[in-house]
Amino acid sequence: MVCVLGAVALAGCGGEKTAKRELKVYNWGDYIDPEVLKDFEKETGIHVIYDTFATNEDMYVKVKSGGSDYDVAIPSDYMIKRMIRENLLEKIDMDKVPNYQGIGDKFKNLPFDPQNAYSVPYMWGTVGIIYNKKMVTDPVDSWNILWNPKYAKQIFMLDSPRDSIGITLKLLGYSLNTGDDAQLEQAKAKLIEQKPLVLAYVVDEVKDKMIAGEAAMAVVWSGDAMFMKEKNPDLAYVIPKEGTNYWFDSMVILKGAKHKAEAEEFINYMTRPDIAKRNVEYIGYASPIPEVVKSLDPEVQQDVAAYPADSLLKSSEIFDDLSDNLAKYDKVWTEVKVAQ
């Protein structure tokens, strides 16, 4: 058995298959309908090598160090801006991606890729408050409900510096991309003030906990909110009036990609309405393609968690690459987490 395994090992590390068309994709975990990948391989004959990452930062380290040779990756907005700045992306030939025309106009030329030369949106969503209608008696329309002492120890906050500091900045009326020290100090003070009321700082555990009714409210991503509301009809999602963060995960082609043509074919395939719909139904997040949205259940189309009206997004922002200010946010978050 050792010899067999050894032989396999040596074969695996050998040269590349030159006859077969290949494509290397780097995506979040559980972020594509597996059947879609199989169908892509069947339709185009391109063999897909698919890897997953847990966070944008992990992906960034692997790509920046030159250790990865992925063709397509699906990072988030602020990371795309950073990668463009650091020359880690190839321009996408949009002629090879005709399905790009199907993307809604409000999702084109986003701030992190103003000429829309490097990315094609895949999924998007918002950050908002999910609350249990039976446990919350006050109207929920502002971020300050998370600071209401009436709900002490009934509040879940996101264990994510940019999200938690970001919504606090929005509450205070500032930009969630600010680098202003005074504004960040205020946000820090506000978060420390909130600490006694917070039950826990969580990430994806929040879903099971809110479904089980362990708390009255939580800050969550819209995709998770969709899932939670389905499981527990007592839950409702709201985007506060101060505005929030709305986020995008977009497909990009990495610099030096060996299979650029196949990459563009893949991006085009993923943006095809019927394929995009299958991904939306599997993942449960929102699609930037109006044709797909119209084909969904009317209840979903009206759902604030899935497709909020433009008016709600008026004062919302996309995360910008913080670059040198990142250290400031890290410091603020560390000080919040250790505060008594």
């Binding site: 590390c13 975990g29 559980d30």
Partner: protein, 256 residues
């Protein structure tokens, strides 16, 4: 008193096993959420066998673990023996400190530095780099498990064998090796467990579609762990349980 001892042990075991038990129960839950029970189903098990990504990851996890444990044990045992036999005290000290370094280093430091090393040496990140990385972080643990067993070993036996005409290799094979075998087996199992478990080092030293289960599962952090992982964990747990029962039954039978 006996009751206290028994109940304390029971509490410890409960603490260890209740999470696994919950995992197994929820692998049959038709709902993806832990908070609601939507009915009994074997769907996740069926999905598991259809899911090539998970099966691939399982294959690589096991093959890397077996190969890395085997090779690390061989290298580690030979190293331990050399340290015990042939090194002067100051040489031994240096090597011991070098051995301790990877153990004390945080995984992420080891992972990123190995990744940079492989890139520098123009080794493609894939199965080979992953295997090398695993062997590298396993060897110190093997050395640290075999060395104490060697110290316990009565050197006079080895000297006596040499005196009686055995070559050093023969003496090692027939006298020393059987005595330190428990330490070697422990080292091998230790290495195997570390390899199966590892995420950070594996993540940074692999590529080209070679994933292990830890990478696959950690990547699901943002979206929540898919219940097919529960099904897989249940099956792995049962496999190990059956294996242990089979091995121990043989030992019990031998004792009789």
């Amino acid at each position: 008193m006996e009751f206290l001892k028994r109940s304390y042990a029971a509490v410890i075991f409960a603490f260890l096993y209740i999470p696994i038990f919950v995992l197994i129960v929820f692998s049959f839950n038709a709902s993806k959420s832990r908070a609601s029970w939507d009915g009994f189903t074997l769907r996740w098990y069926a999905d598991l066998f259809d899911n090539s990504a998970i099966l691939n990851a399982l294959y690589y996890t096991l093959s890397i673990a077996v190969l890395a444990a085997l090779l690390a044990t061989i290298i580690g045992t030979l190293a331990a023996f050399a340290m015990y036999k042939d090194m002067r005290p100051w040489e031994k000290k240096i090597v011991m400190n070098l051995t301790y370094l990877p153990v004390l280093n945080p995984d992420i430091v080891t992972g990123i530095s190995l990744m940079l090393l492989f890139i520098f040496m123009k080794i493609n990140l894939g199965f080979l780099s992953l295997l090398l990385a695993h062997i590298i972080f396993n060897v110190p643990y093997v050395i640290l498990t075999v060395l104490p067993k060697l110290r316990q070993f009565d050197n006079n036996l080895y000297e006596a064998a040499l005196d009686l005409g055995a070559s050093p290799a023969y003496a090692f094979r027939r006298i020393v090796f059987p005595e330190i075998l428990p330490g070697i087996v422990t080292g091998a199992l230790f290495a195997f467990t570390l390899s199966i478990d590892d995420f950070v080092i594996s993540f940074f030293t692999t590529g080209s579609g070679i994933n292990n289960l830890s990478i696959l599962i950690y990547s699901m952090a943002r979206r929540g762990i898919h219940p097919t992982i529960n099904a897989l964990s249940t099956l792995l747990f049962l496999a190990v349980l059956i294996l242990l029962l089979a091995v121990n039954r043989r030992v019990v039978r031998d004792k009789k």
